[in-house]
């Protein structure tokens, strides 16, 4: 796969070109969705209701998890079409087929990176303090990459073979949004629901990862390395499963697309 990185780069560059074809406005559209969502939740939780979870500045608290979540959400949805959307390309080249999932997750990661200035801007505007935990930001990204690849390799072939999967996953992703520490933090779970629930809660691999991103600004509320370790273990496990499932179903998928 390493020898094909040039091809991967080509595909990702093309994706971004298509996405940002309208330059400035193209960029605006790609950050609009997380920004709008964060804005809505910020209004609801700070203006309409009395916020009881999360930290001040809440908009930074939200965005620090919302932007990575956007990467995850977009990647997983797109993974389900990674093989069928460009079926013609997939059918006419004998590249290792994993590349189509890698490309999907990779180009969403680039969009995530491009959206980080928005987070920085809000952090500066609200006077949020950057802690030294920010050095773990890349680690969180690596873990998320592994997790998304595992899930993507699993979903891509299954979604081609079973047509209901796409709808099912779309619903599950919405649920996962509320079950992940985005509107609230992991420490809110242990504070309010107790440590037993919290232990179960961190089995969601996104919990440890999103929490780790947030330590860049909110180190005091961090749940600690335990959740990160669980995330890493589950991510690697899912990656191993994803690689195997992909290999197994590859032949059937190629007949189908």
């Amino acid at each position: 796969m390493w020898s094909r990185r040039r091809i991967l780069q080509l595909l990702i560059t093309r994706d971004l070109k298509v996405k940002y074809a309208g330059s400035v406005l193209g960029y605006f559209w790609s950050v609009l969705e997380p920004l709008m969502l964060a804005g809505i939740y910020w209004v609801v939780f700070t203006k309409l209701m009395r916020r009881q979870v999360g930290e001040e500045p809440y908009i930074v608290f939200l965005l620090a998890a919302m932007l990575p979540w956007q990467w995850a959400n977009a990647s997983l949805r797109a993974s389900m079409r990674a093989l069928s959307k460009d079926a013609k390309l997939v059918r006419s080249t004998s590249l290792p087929r994993e590349i189509w999932v890698l490309r999907t997750v990779g180009s969403r990661m680039m969009e995530f990176l491009f959206s980080l200035p928005v987070l920085a801007a809000f952090a500066i505007a609200t006077g949020a303090h950057l802690t030294w935990y920010a050095i773990f930001f890349p680690l969180a990204m690596v873990l998320q990459m592994l997790l998304l690849l595992g899930l993507g390799l699993l979903l891509a072939p299954v979604a081609v073979l079973y047509s209901d999967v796409e709808r099912l996953i779309t619903v599950l992703l919405r649920l996962l949004f509320y079950f992940s520490p985005i509107l609230y933090g992991v420490h809110d779970i242990s504070n309010r629901l107790g440590s037993t629930i919290a232990k179960l809660y961190i089995l969601n691999p996104f919990a440890g990862i999103l929490d780790l991103y947030r330590t860049a600004f909110f180190a005091e509320e961090w749940a600690g390395w335990g959740a990160v370790a669980v995330s890493a273990a589950i991510s690697l496990l899912l990656l191993a499963i994803g690689v195997r499932v992909f290999r197994r179903l590859e032949g059937a998928v190629l007949k189908e697309i």
Partner: protein, 253 residues
């Protein structure tokens, strides 16, 4: 010399009842392990190809003959690695330049220029290599005036010309050609013949699917005849064509 293509008891199976595209298997059936109720067809699976064993030496030109639906294109796809066998194996030394679906991997919404870059890149050409060959590709395909036109607006002849031009510019040692020659006009066909002769004399291996005996005879000495997913004849092209013609006339009766 070691063969460049080596197929051993190759077989691939398709599901007869499977609706193509969007249809999909029901998730419920998969979860409950229940198989969907059988339709009128007796067997659910059919073998599009089975027990295919042959090998091809470097520089050979092989013609593949057989009626429609007997597995010719499927065999090419297995060699190209864009389908995976259910049985047996096929090993290929070096890369394959596949002219299988006439318009190959071209994307309709991209311009001809972008498509040349994309396809060249996907088949492993470096930036510099594409740059060097770009003009040659465009000249050969005669699409110089339409470089910035989206590919989907191309006429079918132009699409084929561009496809043929890009794929035959690749350095791959094996070239697979599926019915491409049938589409171009006469002048372009002559050009294609020229290009293919060049490739052959340059030591490439050619695998040609065609219904035109003239085309086959022009390039191939060896013929493979496929019938009902089996390799019936593997020998001199004349033998393969003879067998094919006699089977065809039997069927007509």
């Amino acid at each position: 010399m070691a063969p460049v293509i080596d197929a051993h008891e190759l077989g691939i199976r398709f599901d007869r009842n499977r609706r193509r595209r969007r249809g999909g298997r029901r998730l419920k059936d998969a979860l409950t392990g229940r198989t969907p109720p059988p339709t009128k067809n007796k067997s659910k699976d059919f073998w599009a190809l089975r027990d295919i064993t042959f090998s091809v030496d470097p520089g050979e030109a092989v013609g593949l003959v057989g009626a429609n639906g007997q597995g010719k294109s499927t065999l090419l796809k297995l060699i190209a690695g864009v389908l995976l066998p259910d049985e047996g194996r096929v090993s290929v030394q070096g890369g394959v330049a596949p002219l299988i679906e006439v318009t190959g991997g071209f994307v309709g919404s991209l311009t001809a220029r972008d498509n040349i870059w994309l396809t060249g890149g996907l088949h492993g050409l470096s930036k510099q290599e594409i740059e060097e060959r770009f003009d040659e590709i465009v000249d050969f395909a005669e699409v110089g005036d339409f470089l910035d036109t989206p590919f989907r607006h191309f006429s079918s002849g132009m699409k084929v010309r561009l496809g043929f031009s890009v794929i035959t510019t690749l350095d791959e040692p094996i070239v697979l050609v599926d019915e491409v020659l049938a589409v171009g006009d006469r002048a372009f066909r002559e050009k294609c013949y020229g290009r293919m002769s060049e490739l052959l004399s340059g030591g490439r291996t050619l695998f040609l699917v065609s219904h035109s005996e003239a085309d086959l005879r022009r390039f191939c000495k060896r013929g493979l005849y496929l019938n009902e997913g089996r390799l019936v004849t593997d020998g001199p092209l004349d033998d393969a064509l003879e067998q094919y013609n006699s089977d065809a006339s039997k069927r007509r009766r």
